[in-house]
């Protein structure tokens, strides 16, 4: 037994305590017993592998194979015995595809499906093969998604985030491109309309060119030109405006931020994928001037197509248009930058760039991947959290960037949050632990990553500054298993020496995570099977500050030996210290996420104390004095609100000037032109194109009466004649009677 192991139990030899006689030289391959059920991942249905859906709609850009297959089963395999065969075959091909991927085969879902199908068919015989083929063909046609498949491994985070980023980017570019193309089209339409008015556009030669070849002989272009030149043309565009539109158009046409719809191949465009923050920042700076020019051109174009550009107002504004005029929305409408930091340590200079970017407004999305959380053993020091894995906590301090931390195993569950981070206008940091350190060749990266998440060694959290004004809205730790607890607990069932089943709950602690790593094998000392283990306590209990410990307590974990035996193992003291630190970190994350927050707890305690004090005081008062009758409710009901007299809307009184003056019920006029045709000096239209009497003396009484008679809606009232000397008055007055 090494001196280090002795140290963990306070210098006392566990051997002495347990009375065992184990040979210290025999080491087991460490494996936490709690992971026993998950060893063979290809037999299990879980989030991985993933299908990176190959369409550019940006809607659910990633699906798990399990979800895709479930969709197929819903479609083709009815519940119950009827769908049993189809279900079995489809689940069989799912297992086969999983196996192909874990054996490092790559490809799209449809490719792997084809290979898996051939393998399965080769194994089947006779009629069974026919049924299998039919079921698989039906399932194949029900496959709703296709795309490249990825299993959980070192590159998963890079591939997945780049894939989602591309989908988000494509959507963003589609919108910006649509806007720019429409503006460019409208601007060129303005120029074209102007050109069509020019003399050159109307000469015989250009007219001939515009007709094409088929009917060229049928036209006399000279005559056509003569006619067109005689026709009145509108005013040509002012020179200044034509120049402005031309300038804006050339900026819109020559931008390099993305390729146009069709001319993708020969157009040189900028790249937005980088492998260092320094390079991304440099590229952004180099493109700022062009970005300003493009935003300016778009703004001018938007004004021009609306015919809203006023030189007196806008010229001074646009002449001073520079980098400072770019709004965050402007910057956000451009493609975002994806920086994939290489796994490993982050150099100080690079870290400085990273912090600078994270505290800026720039749309930079940074992926920092860690492969190994347990480096540093060689120096005999446990430096957990060194290198890249602490970047997320660092970014939290900036309070500005979107931050997501997760292990690769949980990325699928957090896919919506990844989309959020990639679509948010500002910077984002994705810190991911891949679990692919490679130190344990037996353990798939998925299990290592999932173990890190379980053990709180790399907990999941997200910080979204746009989600609200406070931490409660912005910060979440909900992705973690049993997030309320210090450690998640799981039931372990095993058979003891007498073949009796024992079921016991164990917490999966940081120590269990370390137990996955062969480099730390010497930190675990198996307890002999026949030894007394009275002093042994599980790690979670040993390091629980609230639990009382006997002085001689020794921490242990349940490990799985080769051959499937479960055995307790005593844990090195340094691991215990590291586990304590890990729990402290987790507790502070919990507090940020609103779980058992100490401020809230203190506040609650003081509020409760204040309440109790208050109640006690009240009780003392009551005890000291006779209890007063509680005040009777006031007998007098509140005076009923005086019923407001319902005010009737004052009736709109139609203007009916009594007397001898002629008038028109203007609101009823139907604009039929009858009266204005009779006399447009006497009758005229108002602002609503409805008739009124503009001048009662503008015509004769005869015209007035005739207008009244011809009015379709009979709204002209002629009044009395204004000129008593007009001939035929008597008859006219009689005719006017019915319109009075």
């Amino acid at each position: 037994m090494s001196a280090e192991i002795l140290e963990l139990a306070g210098g006392k030899s566990p051997d002495a305590k347990l009375g065992g006689d184990r040979d210290g030289a025999a080491k087991i391959t460490p494996r936490p017993a709690l992971l026993a059920g998950y060893w063979n991942l290809t037999e299990l249905r879980y989030d991985y592998p993933l299908v990176l859906v190959a369409d550019d709609t940006g809607v659910s850009p990633v699906r798990s194979l399990t979800a895709v297959i479930d969709g197929v089963l819903r479609e083709i395999a009815p519940r119950g015995a009827e769908g049993e065969a189809a279900r079995k075959h489809v689940l069989g091909i799912e297992r086969e595809i999983r196996g192909l991927l874990s054996a490092d085969a790559g490809g799209t879902l449809s490719e792997l499906w084809g290979r898996a199908k051939n393998t399965l068919l080769a194994r089947a015989e006779g009629a069974a093969a026919d049924v299998l083929k039919e079921n698989l063909d039906r399932a194949r046609s029900a496959l709703a998604y296709d795309g490249e498949m990825v299993d959980c491994g070192a590159e998963t985070a890079d591939t997945l985030i780049e894939h989602i980023w591309k989908a988000v980017q494509a959507d963003k570019i589609r919108r910006l491109r649509g806007k720019i193309e429409i503006l460019a089209l409208r601007l060129s339409d303005i120029l074209k309309a102007d050109a069509m008015q020019s003399a050159e556009a109307r000469d015989a030669e250009s007219l001939e060119r515009s007709v094409g070849t088929s009917f060229r002989d049928s036209f006399d272009f000279e005559a056509m030109s003569r006619l067109l030149i005689e026709a009145p043309a509108g005013d040509p565009l002012p020179e200044e405006r034509r120049r402005r539109i031309g300038d804006a158009l050339s900026v819109l046409d020559s931008q390099k931020f993305f390729a146009p719809w069709d001319g993708g191949e020969d157009t040189e465009t900028y790249t937005f994928l980088f492998d260092s923050c320094a390079a991304a920042a440099e590229a952004f700076q180099a493109r700022v001037a062009e970005m300003v020019a493009l935003v300016k051109a778009i703004s001018i174009a938007e004004l021009e197509v609306e015919n809203g550009y006023r030189e007196s107002k806008h010229d001074p504004l646009f002449s001073g248009f520079d980098e400072n005029a770019l709004s965050p929305e402007d910057i956000a409408s451009f493609p975002s930058y994806l920086v994939r930091l290489s796994a490993g340590r982050c150099e100080p200079a690079e870290k400085a760039h990273l912090i600078e970017l994270l505290s800026s407004d720039l749309p930079v999305k940074i992926l920092a991947r860690s492969d190994d959380l347990l480096e540093g053993l060689s120096g005999k020091r446990f430096s957990f959290g060194a290198g890249m894995s602490d970047l997320a906590s660092l970014a939290l301090g900036q309070n500005n960037a979107y931050v997501l931390q997760s292990t690769a195993s949980h990325l699928y569950q957090l896919r919506d949050r990844i989309v959020d981070g990639l679509t948010c206008p500002g910077p984002a940091l994705f810190s991911v632990f891949s679990g692919s350190a490679g130190s344990n060749p037996d353990l798939p990266p998925y299990l290592v990553a999932a173990a890190a998440m379980e053990a709180r060694a790399f907990p999941a959290f997200t910080y979204d500054p746009a989600a609200g004004a406070d931490w409660a809205a912005r910060f979440e730790v909900t992705g973690n298993p049993q997030a309320e607890a210090d450690w998640p607990t799981h039931r372990l069932s095993y058979a003891d020496q007498d073949l009796q089943t024992i079921a016991q709950d164990f917490a999966f602690t940081f120590v269990d995570f370390v137990a996955c790593d062969p480099r730390y094998a010497q930190c675990f000392e198996p307890v002999p099977a026949d030894g007394s283990d009275a002093a042994l306590v599980p790690v979670s209990e040993f390091i629980d500050p609230e639990a009382e410990q006997a002085a001689e307590a020794v921490p242990y974990v349940m490990l799985l030996e080769d051959g499937g035996l479960v055995r307790k193992a005593v844990v090195d003291g340094r691991l215990i210290r590291a586990a304590r630190r890990c729990r402290e970190r987790w507790r502070s994350l919990q507090e940020l996420g609103g779980i058992d927050n100490s401020h809230a707890r203190n506040l609650l305690a003081s509020a409760r104390q204040a309440w109790e004090d208050e109640k006690e005081r009240e009780l003392a008062v009551l005890k000291g004095r006779p209890v007063e009758e509680p005040e009777a409710p006031t007998a007098e009901p509140a005076p009923a609100e005086a019923e407001a007299p319902i005010e009737e809307a004052p009736e709109e009184v139609l203007e009916e000037p009594a007397g001898d003056d002629p008038y028109i019920e203007t609101p009823r006029c139907t604009t039929c032109d009858e009266c204005t045709e009779i006399n447009n000096a006497m009758f005229a239209y108002d602002d609503n194109r409805q008739a009124y009497i503009a001048n009662p003396d503008g015509g004769t009484y005869r015209e007035m009466v005739e207008a009244a008679e011809s009015c379709q809606v009979a709204i002209i009232h002629p009044g009395k004649p204004r000129n008593p000397n007009e001939p035929g008055l008597e008859e006219l007055i009689q005719r006017a009677e019915s319109f009075m």
């Binding site: 089209l185 005029a325 009823r668 032109d673 194109r689």
Partner: protein, 331 residues
């Protein structure tokens, strides 16, 4: 994108549009024609909404009513008989930012254009459609129309129209996706304006049947209704029309009708006398085709040409010998 100018600066700069800004050519309709009233109401709407004339399109087919685009100062498309709606749909699809108005007559819409009408209702694209229904073909000097009353003597039916007239309201209300159906009469300008205003604000295919007088060929057709306000049924509702008190004083025959009630709308639509006036049906939740099938790319002449050539290339017949000797490859 960046809008560095405060909106108030724009407003102070821009003149307000007046009625005259929407006036195109001088109307050539007969005096007393109901088309004038519709024109006045639409011009008032444009002025009240301050629609930039270059943002309006007036589309029509053939008939007296279809001269409408000439008299508006905006974009216009005086198209072919019965095809105003497909043209309007194409405009809306390509330029959803434009306000599209359609003027169509009882022949243009209910006879030669019926197929387009039915499907335009189903497409429910955002436009204001005014069916100028005078129940006769006036441009061809009094011929029978699908909405002419049975027995009407015209140049083409000297013994009187043989069939029951078609009711544009019940037809429209019977088509899937109908989203706005109203009826106006040219002799109550206040309501005509209010109905056109509601139709304009409705997002979808707003169909207004306007009963209008033809003083030249059917001078007495609507006389009983013009003279007797009791023969007009005003449909009033807080979600529909709210006539002014003075108008209500004249038109006392009113019914509170919720435009969401399709069943009652269909009942009201089938009544010929009294003439219902108001909004019969409105449903703001109907899907619109331009939203279901939006295009986010612009079709420049080059992209259209490219697409056409790619399509036509499919029919290219490769010469048998690889094109080396063209003459022998020709028949």
């Amino acid at each position: 994108m960046t809008d560095p100018i405060p909106q108030c600066v724009f407003r102070a700069e821009d003149e307000r549009y007046t009625l005259a800004d929407y006036q195109g050519e001088e109307p050539r309709w007969c005096t007393g024609c109901g088309d004038n009233a519709i024109l006045a109401a639409v011009q008032r709407l444009c002025r009240d909404e301050q629609l930039p004339p270059e943002r309006t399109v007036f589309v029509s087919g053939i008939g007296c009513s279809s001269r409408f685009p000439h008299y508006m100062n905006g974009y216009g498309f005086h198209g072919i008989h019965g095809r105003s709606l497909p043209v309007a749909e194409g405009i809306k699809m390509a330029r959803p930012d434009l306000h599209v108005f359609v003027s169509t007559g009882d022949g243009d819409c209910c006879s030669i254009g019926t197929a387009h009408w039915i499907h335009a209702i189903r497409y429910n694209m955002d436009m204001t459609v005014m069916l100028h229904d005078n129940r006769v073909y006036g441009l061809t000097k009094m011929q029978v129309s699908p909405t002419s009353p049975q027995g009407l003597q015209t140049k083409t039916t000297p013994r009187g129209a043989y069939l029951e007239p078609l009711n544009p309201l019940t037809v429209t209300l019977g088509v899937a996706n109908a989203s706005f159906v109203a009826q106006a009469v040219d002799w109550i300008p206040e309501l005509m304006h209010d109905i056109i205003e509601s139709a304009f604000h409705h997002k979808g295919f707003s169909f207004i049947r306007v009963l209008q007088r033809c003083p030249e060929f059917l001078p007495d057709m609507f006389e009983p209704w013009v003279q007797d306000p009791a023969k007009t049924l005003l449909l009033v509702h807080e979600d529909g029309l709210q006539p002014s008190p003075s108008l209500s004083k004249t038109y006392k025959n009113q019914e509170a009708h919720d435009p969401a009630d399709l069943t009652r709308a269909r009942e009201i639509a089938s009544v010929e006398d009294p003439i219902p006036v108001g909004i019969l049906y409105r449903n703001d939740d109907m899907p619109r085709y331009e939203e279901i099938r939006p295009t986010d790319r612009s079709y420049t002449p080059d992209t259209i040409k490219g697409a056409l050539e790619a399509e036509l290339d499919k029919f290219t017949i490769a010469p048998a010998n690889g094109g080396e000797d063209e003459d022998t490859a020709k028949p």
